[in-house]
């Protein structure tokens, strides 16, 4: 039997459907996650199923008490999700675009992330916040951001950045079953990505990197969309006689230091590709970790490929110039030889 392929959104949808079937405490909330609330002629069915259709069909199966459309009140509903998680529900909240986190930042930074610690371990916040991130959609400065570094910085939050449909499903199921607050980043350009996804439910552990391509000469640690760019870059490098290992951390907090160090020990060279702005991002964090713990393995300086220290421009040629791409990654790698 041919292995079944799903696209990125379908894999996420299936993860949520299976978890909602398994556990009645799992609820979805967010703006237009169903859409068409109280519109008579829709008879309870959804109008949108999320802005990219990722939650489409779920309201039909689980009803509006478990797929809850919210007003445009991010502080309110994200805070409510934190409170509900602390008192027994297991919400999956959808923050349409990661830039809107700006609106509800207190509820994450000062509430959700810290409740457990401040309460001496007496609370847990089993909440997943799914959010769209990334450039390339010509969506301009407020709708194209890559902010996983910001959230990875905060103790109490876990951060997950899947790059394939397979990882998306397994990581989302793990996130839903996890007892901590997880922020789950979905790249806006992943809609068309297809891949083999098992039909049954399965989990992928947090803090376990995946080697997306094995290689000998240089390690490329790549996050989210950069995994795909790095695989393209690796093909180019192959033509140049260099064998690149592409490593996908999959979760940034917790982070799999061991697999990165093992790879660098083997290759002696490290490129880190991250679409974040370059200051205080996950790439600088990984670079510091390797400089500290793997200095002796290195035959060349560590190279980082990131977006520049500017907001995301709208105009297509500017945005293309802004974004990291396969060529920038392969050039950085070649510069190490």
């Amino acid at each position: 039997m041919a292995e079944r392929e799903l696209n990125f959104g379908e894999a996420l949808n299936e993860a949520m459907r299976q978890e909602m079937q398994r556990d009645p405490k799992v609820v979805i909330m967010g703006e237009d996650v169903a859409g068409g609330a109280d519109v008579d002629h829709l008879e309870g069915d959804d109008a949108w199923g999320g802005v990219l259709g990722v939650t489409k069909g779920l309201v039909k199966e689980f009803g509006r008490s478990r797929v809850i459309d919210t007003p445009i009140s991010e502080s309110g509903f994200i805070g409510a999700a934190v409170g509900a998680a602390a008192t027994g529900l297991r919400p999956i909240a959808e923050m349409m675009f990661v830039g809107f986190m700006g609106v509800c930042f207190d509820q994450l930074l000062n509430q959700g992330a810290k409740l457990r610690y401040m309460f001496g371990g007496k609370a847990k916040v089993p909440l997943v916040i799914r959010t769209i991130c990334g450039g390339g959609y010509r969506a301009a400065a407020q709708h194209s951001q890559v902010l996983h570094s910001l959230f990875t910085h905060i103790p109490g939050l876990k951060t997950v950045v899947p790059s394939t449909p397979y990882d998306a499903k397994g990581l989302l199921i793990s996130a839903i079953r996890d007892d901590d607050l997880v922020i789950f980043f979905e790249d806006i350009t992943f809609g068309g990505i297809k891949g083999v996804v098992p039909e049954e439910d399965y989990t992928i552990p947090f803090g376990k990197a995946d080697i997306k391509r094995a290689g000998e000469d240089v390690t490329i640690v790549a996050i989210g969309k950069m995994v795909h760019h790095s695989l393209t870059a690796a093909t180019e490098l192959e033509k140049q006689g260099k064998s690149a290992e592409v490593l996908d951390p999959r979760t940034l907090s917790p982070f799999d230091e061991e697999t990165v160090l093992e790879s660098v020990e083997k290759t002696g060279r490290l490129v880190i590709a991250d679409e974040s702005h370059p200051r205080c991002n996950v790439a600088t964090d990984i670079a510091a970790m390797v400089a500290d713990k793997g200095f002796d393995y290195l035959n060349a300086p560590i190279k980082m490929v990131s977006a520049p220290h500017t907001p995301v421009p709208f105009s297509p040629p500017l945005e293309d110039h802004y974004l990291p791409n396969p060529q920038k990654i392969s050039e950085a790698a070649l510069g190490l030889f």
């Binding site: 703006e31 237009d32 859409g35 068409g36 609330a37 109280d38 519109v39 002629h41 829709l42 109008a47 949108w48 802005v51 459309d69 007003p71 445009i72 009140s73 991010e74 502080s75 309110g76 830039g99 809107f100 700006g102 609106v103 959609y137 010509r138 969506a139 301009a140 400065a141 407020q142 709708h143 520049p308 220290h309 500017t310 907001p311 421009p313 709208f314 105009s315 297509p316 040629p317 500017l318 110039h321 802004y322």
Partner: protein, 322 residues
């Protein structure tokens, strides 16, 4: 309330300019000429124009993701706007902002906004500047029914009230926030009822009736200019297009949609009001239509012919000094 003839002509021209601009944007977007997201204002013209009829370039405005109409009503150049939507170097923001971030500081236009509820606090800021400087400038703060559920709006209403800021908060209640109807997301039937909680006047009007908007805005603007503080004006209206281009709009009620595009259309209603009374002639309207169509054709040609920005522009304008 009588509106002087030259103002009536201006009003018609601006409403028509918005309508033709938006219709053309829809076409160009469909052709793939306009990247990203666009949210069209068509159907709501009487709100922006009826209010901006009382403003000068010195007055301020904050806007929303559905901001093209506000910009046109405030007098922002349609060539620069179109070029901005095309991402060109001649765009009003050099192609760096696009549809959701059109701004023109010279016209007091403090930006469309990609963040729902992003505008009201900024409006308190321009209100505070005007008050501190002792000018009679007012700020118009446009926001949607969906935005009325953001905390920022409520904080801003209170700030404006306690500081007696010269602001007119304009709720553009088009019945929906994306695919979610206002009767679901909003705790009150009329957003203007919330004004009472902030101790300011609040009125709800038919936002597709240009004359009603003009009259209510006249009062609110006069109050603000006289230093008597903010008001909340709710205009009930409807958008002709989807939330953004590409929206299937299954949540809309078909008959209602049809009615708003025909008999309740604000431009049609304006014409029906002025023509029989002889306030404006058919010929005068036709002349305006011709001018408007030519202006939009010209704007599209200008946008198409303009170059994209140089890639070095990616790195400019982040700071004044660095």
């Amino acid at each position: 309330m009588d509106i002087p003839k030259d103002k009536l002509l201006w009003i018609y021209e601006r409403m028509q300019l918005i309508r033709v601009f938006e219709t053309r944007v829809s076409t160009e977007f469909g052709k793939g000429k306009i990247p990203g997201f666009v949210h069209l204002y068509a159907g709501e013209e009487a709100v922006a124009v009826g209010i901006c009829a009382h403003l000068t370039d010195a007055d301020y405005m904050t806007s929303t993701h559905r901001g093209h109409g506000h910009c046109v009503a405030k007098g922002v150049d349609v060539r620069g706007m179109m070029a901005e939507l095309f991402g060109k170097a001649t765009g009003i923001c050099k192609g760096k902002g696009g549809s959701m971030h059109i701004a023109d500081m010279d016209k007091g236009m403090l930006g469309a906004n990609g963040i729902v509820g992003g505008g009201p606090p900024l409006a308190c800021g321009s209100g505070l500047t005007a008050k501190t400087n002792g000018t009679d400038q007012v700020t118009i703060c446009f926001f949607g029914d969906g935005a009325s559920e953001q905390g920022t709006l409520h904080e801003s209403l209170n700030l404006a009230a306690i500081w007696k800021l010269p602001i007119i908060f304009v709720a553009e209640n088009n019945g929906y926030a994306e695919s979610t109807p206002a009767h679901y997301h909003c705790s009150v039937e009329n957003i203007a009822d919330r004004a009472a909680a902030y101790n300011m006047p609040g009125v709800t009007i038919d936002g597709n009736d240009l004359f009603a908007v003009y009259e209510s805005a006249h009062e609110a603007v006069a109050r603000a200019r006289a230093g008597q503080g903010p008001s909340l004006l709710e205009c009930k209206t409807y958008r002709h297009f989807g939330h953004f281009e590409g929206d299937a709009q299954t949540y809309k009620i078909a008959e209602e949609n049809e009615k708003y595009r025909t008999e309740l259309d604000p431009i049609k209603r304006f014409k029906d009001a002025v023509l029989p009374r002889g306030l404006i002639s058919e010929d005068e309207l036709a002349a305006i239509d011709q001018r408007v169509n030519a202006a939009i054709d010209e704007a599209v040609t200008f946008a198409e012919d303009s170059p994209f920005p140089e890639v070095q522009e990616t790195f400019t304008d982040v700071y004044v000094n660095y």
